[in-house]
């Protein structure tokens, strides 16, 4: 299993009701259902992914976060709301995060770090929009319209009064490295944040 998913699954307890925003082909939810005894839904807009989820037995709702939001979900109905590698692709990440913590007690968010040294270096040297394993697109066809750095994300959380329960940083291969732990905003490629509005 991918190390980032390995980390996430440790934060989901048996019986947890989980919402996965942009659940893709349902790999994570399928794992959480079978191995962690969790229940829940995935939201997805890609038709092929939706079909794959249904074949797996992952409950999936065709719903576009940008246009439909999460209005159809009740306050606090989920224990955990997940969003892996999709925050940078929504139109209003700030609103999505607020909604995550309205419908769920806890949010788990992963996204690529735009301040990773290789991206900084690429932009500084070549003067072209950076590309990497975590960001393999061209500037004109990228679905990633809201790129940010770890520092940006943490500033947003502070501004909204959201508490960061923990943060793990991994490299492009989703491996944990001590260097990334030392200088995350420079050396970490992908961050996994666990956020909440609840007090410790």
């Amino acid at each position: 299993m991918r190390p980032d998913l390995e980390i996430i699954q440790q934060w989901v307890q048996p019986g947890h009701h989980v919402l996965d925003l942009g659940c893709g082909n349902g790999t994570l939810l399928d794992f959480l259902q079978r191995e962690r005894g969790a229940t829940g839904f995935g939201l997805e807009i890609n038709p092929d992914h939706i079909t794959t989820c249904m074949a797996k037995g992952v409950s999936v709702i065709e719903q576009n976060l940008d246009t439909q939001g999460l209005d159809n979900f009740d306050d606090g109905m989920f224990d955990v709301v997940l969003m892996t590698q999709a925050l940078q692709a929504v139109r209003r990440p700030d609103k999505v995060i607020e909604e995550m913590l309205r419908v769920g007690r806890e949010g788990i968010v992963t996204f690529p770090n735009f301040a990773h040294w290789r991206l900084r270096w690429g932009l500084a040297l070549s003067g072209r929009m950076p590309e990497s394993d975590a960001l393999p697109y061209k500037w004109y066809n990228t679905p990633n319209i809201r790129l940010c750095t770890f520092k940006d994300f943490e500033a947003l959380c502070r501004q909204k009064g959201i508490r960061i329960k923990s943060r793990r940083v991994v490299d492009g291969q989703h491996q944990n490295s001590w260097l990334a732990r030392l200088w995350p905003n420079l050396l970490g490629e992908i961050a996994i944040y666990r956020i909440t509005r609840e007090n410790p």
């Binding site: 038709p47 939706i50 079909t51």
Partner: protein, 382 residues
Amino acid sequence: MPDSLPSDSVGLVSPQTVHFDTPIELACGQTLDSYDLVVETYGTLNPEASNAVLICHALSGHHHAAGYHSMDDKKPGWWDSCIGPGKPIDTNRFFVVSLNNLGGCHGSTGPNSTNPATGKPYGPDFPVITVADWVKSQACLADRLGIEQWAAVVGGSLGGMQALQWSLDYPDRLRHSVVIASTPRLSAQNIAFNEVARQAITSDREFHDGRYYDFDTVPRRGLMLARMVGHITYLSDASMGEKFGRELREEAYKFGFDAEFQVESYLRYQGERFSESFDANTYLLMTRALDYFDPAYSAGGDLAKALAPASCEYLVLSFSTDWRFSPERSEEMVNAMISARKKVSYAEIDAPWGHDAFLIPTPRYTDIFTAYMDRAAREVGV
């Protein structure tokens, strides 16, 4: 007619009549002491009786859902696109049961059956049937066939309402409820269209207060008009536009009121054909069953609360251009299921054919339906 039957067809099938002697109490307070249901089955029931799928039909549907009755048939059953070997409801794996509902006019006990009390057709004396009554009679049929639990109950439109009702009335007796192009309740506009259809029938001089059988006639014009109105609501503006546009049957306007536009002659043809094969009293009953359907009513209008007893998984599908039961109506249902913490999957399928899209095998519809039913089959080991 086909010279040879397609390899993905269930082939030649024949309906059978199942007789019930145990009285059935209906929502209206009346009781039917005995009744018949006409049934077709496709595929084989496994020894555990766990692979059965119930097909619920829509307003004008019946038991003949797949295959052919004879080599002379022009068309196969009404849902042949989705039922057969290798099709979404795969008859190599599932035992499929399809019936004509109570009150129908294709062989099951209905207004045109003989009322044992009078020796004449029931006509208007046939009790008004609800979706819950149908589900109850279908449960009796399941008992008779030795099916304790359906692998899935599946239906489109009014059929989807039955699939939903099953999950509330007999939660332990189905694993999956597949609700396609349906709605949790009719809107005022839906009821209004039904009322126009009913008025067309009841105001026909040949209707004779529903006792037209005694006069050896049928309210053909009324039934034809009812079908024409209904048919318009099954299609989308775009699909009618594409099929007929403003095309004329002849080159120039004739400055009269005959069917000059293609769409007019199409509707007349559809209406006439329907009026020859459908019973007017059944049409009244079916539209009333639609009007009355509202499972949230008994829960104070709260559908999520009404869904509390359900334990099956749901698949809900809607079609982008369906304005009779639009995607929003399906989403209403899905949201209530989410609130009630039921397992539900939902997709809105892009298709230009309006409400009728649930009968037409578009690639995405077929893919999703196949993927979902495949898992339902694997779950019961077939």
